[in-house]
């Protein structure tokens, strides 16, 4: 009995030792991957930061209105934030590769999902950033056109255009991420529809006098005003 117990114990101990002996090299490989991953991620971060600085990315970001948003949230500059983001994504990627080397059952599936999600994450960020840029450009263009055409409420026109483009780019970004696809589409439709309806009502009913005056000025008295202001700039 005792001898059998000792045999079992010895076998179990040997198996544990064998398992550890099998596991240790994998753990070493994982640690090596994590350390090498950190170095690569750091180099990536450093390189990206230098490229973004050379490309004046902060100015582009300021132009898009992203810098003000980051400042309000007490976050670092866009260049720094994007570099850090790439560093963490790269390093987490290497950590997950390392973990997969350990051969833990069920982890591979999650790792594959993570790597499958990355392109969508970058696409969503791309859409969102260029959405912000487009919103800034077109809202400024509308503001200038409205001021130069002497239209009423230029800032309202400008911020409406900005809001529409941002809502649109955010909804496309979330759709790309696969988050609340239906909710976002429905929310966008409601916001956009309400905005258009509101504008139509405001212009047609609430501002009927304004609308009439505008249309009269536009189509009936245009010639008279031109005569009054007959200065050629060139």
């Amino acid at each position: 009995m005792w001898e059998r117990f000792l045999n079992e114990m010895t076998q179990a101990t040997l198996e544990i030792v064998h398992s550890i002996a099998r596991f240790l090299p994998r753990l070493m490989v994982m640690l090596a991957i994590v350390v090498i991953g950190w170095v690569i991620a750091y180099i990536l971060k450093y390189t990206l930061r230098s490229i973004l600085r050379l490309a004046h990315f902060d100015r582009l970001s300021e132009d898009a209105g992203a810098t003000q948003f980051l400042k309000k949230a007490a976050l670092p500059s866009s260049t720094e934030l994007l570099s850090r983001f790439v560093f963490w994504v790269a390093w987490i990627g290497f950590i997950l590769i390392g973990v997969s080397v350990l051969g833990i059952v069920g982890v591979e599936e999650h790792i594959a999902r993570f790597f499958g999600f990355l392109p969508r994450l970058f696409a969503a960020m791309f859409v969102f950033f260029f959405g912000l840029l487009a919103a800034s450009f077109f809202s400024r263009a509308a503001l200038l056109a409205a001021v130069n055409a002497d239209l009423p409420s230029p800032r309202l026109i400008s911020s409406t255009i900005r809001t529409i483009i941002i809502v649109f780019s955010v909804s496309v970004g979330f759709e790309e991420l696969g988050l609340g696809e239906r909710t976002i589409v429905v929310a966008f439709s409601i916001v956009f529809g309400a905005l258009m309806l509101g504008l139509a009502l405001a212009f047609g009913i609430g501002g009927q006098d304004l609308a009439r005056r505008y249309l009269e000025r536009r189509f009936m008295h245009e010639r008279r005003e031109e005569k009054e202001d007959e200065l050629s700039p060139l």
Binding site: D63, N148, E230, L231, P233, L234
Partner: protein, 421 residues
């Protein structure tokens, strides 16, 4: 050759039939049926009267008119001139009309005319604006300095109303003079003449495929001739009348003229940064003449649009102007209309800061140019107010003062340009 790509086969065939000419007069048109007949007649009379021995051709470059402009030009070209003058041609006066590709744009038209001039080996060319109401003498005044005195570019000076051409007097002339150091009174010439040598130079430039070449060719012509060290002169033509339908869109005018001037500074830095004082150019006749007939002008609207522009474009102006200049503008915009004045020094500083912002592309360059429009309205208001009862001499003295301000502040632009400020 450049003309291979822009001249249609039919047009090329007609040009080959003409052979070589001494003088070429180009007219660019787009829906100008109401004015084109008398214009072509005046050109023909001018050529026959003043250049009867020279081989001449009139080239019409049309942007795709739908109102029969080209038909009227052909009709005017073959009509009998006996009833308008007793002139007899010693040589055949050719008239050709063509449609240029790329849609209506004065730059596209000018490129077509230049290509035709090069092909016909014209030694002197003139371009006449379809918006001008001209006299036959204009042809002689424009072309004679080229044919007789070997000038390469002859820009016009006109007898104008003191409130006409305010953008030229308050911005284009002073700034062009301060930066490029030549006192060209009409740096954006609607009517001008040039030598065949300069035509070939223009045509060889790579500007034609760009937006500036399409829309701001008139301004580019002057700047390119100055930078290329060609012989410049200006010639007094007579009263400048504006036809009824002439466009007066301020933003479009600023884009075509000021936008081109800003754009030109990039490539020509060496040229404009080296000179510190401006020099007069040879002038045939008076270099300006002003008339002061009463004119009904809505001055208050200029003021209101300036005030509104400064207030509404706050975020845009913050990106373009330095804090002290913006603060001064904002303070100026609070002054009530009767007491409102836009000082020359502030205006020159503002324009130079816009120029530097354009160079650095702090925001979209087109937006920078557009943002200047409401501020220009403020300066125009001051000009209208200060010169309400001024004589021609007083107006000229004020323009001269503004020019000197632009010249005095030029070093500050150089500092901003290379980032020292």
């Amino acid at each position: 050759m450049a003309e291979e790509t822009i001249l249609s086969d039919d047009f090329l065939r007609e040009l080959i039939n003409v052979g070589e000419v001494d003088i070429l007069v180009g007219v660019h048109t787009y829906n100008d049926a109401s004015t084109i007949g008398p214009l072509v007649q005046a050109i023909r009379v001018g050529l026959l009267k003043y250049f009867p021995r020279q081989r001449a051709a009139i080239i019409n470059a049309d942007g795709g008119s739908k109102d029969g402009t080209q038909d009227l030009i052909r009709a005017a070209s073959i009509s009998d001139l006996q009833h308008v003058s007793r002139l007899q041609a010693l040589r055949t006066l050719h008239s050709i009309s063509t449609q240029y590709p790329g849609g209506p744009a004065s730059g596209n038209a000018l490129r077509t005319i230049l290509a035709a001039a090069e092909l016909l080996r014209a030694s002197a060319c003139a371009v006449i604006s379809p918006d001008s109401i001209i006299e036959p003498e204009w042809l002689e005044r424009l072309l004679r300095p080229v044919t007789r005195d070997n000038f390469d570019l002859v820009t016009p000076t006109y007898r104008r109303h003191k409130f006409d051409g305010l953008l030229i007097r308050n911005l284009l002339y002073p700034m062009n003079r301060a930066l490029y150091s030549r006192r060209v009174r009409e740096p954006y010439p609607p009517d001008f003449a040039f030598s065949g040598r300069l035509a070939s130079h223009f045509l060889s430039q790579e500007v034609w495929s760009q937006e500036v070449g399409r829309t701001g060719a008139e301004m580019y012509v002057t700047i390119s001739a100055i930078v290329g060290d060609f012989r410049l002169a200006q010639s007094f033509l007579g009263p400048k009348s504006r036809v009824e339908h002439a466009p007066a869109d301020l933003v479009a005018a600023i884009r075509r003229s000021v936008g081109t001037l800003f754009w030109s500074l990039e490539d020509n830095f060496r040229s404009w940064s080296a000179n510190s004082h401006s020099e007069p150019i040879t002038t045939f006749g008076p270099d300006h003449e002003l008339i002061s007939d009463p004119l009904r002008v809505n001055r208050k609207r200029q003021y209101e649009m300036f005030v509104r522009g400064v207030s509404e474009l706050d975020t845009v102006l913050k990106a373009i102007l330095s804090p002290p200049t913006l603060a001064e503008l904002q303070r100026t915009a609070t002054v009530p209309e009767p007491d409102f004045r836009f000082p020359d020094e502030l205006w020159a500083r503002t324009v130079y800061e816009f120029t530097a912002a354009y160079h650095k592309s702090v925001i979209s360059r087109d937006h920078i140019v557009q943002a200047l429009a409401p501020l220009y309205r403020g300066k125009a208001h001051t000009f209208l107010l200060e010169n309400r009862d001024s004589s021609a001499e007083e107006v000229e003295s004020k323009v001269e003062h503004l020019c000197q301000e632009f010249e005095r502040l030029k070093p500050s632009l150089l500092e901003m340009w290379d980032g020292r400020k």
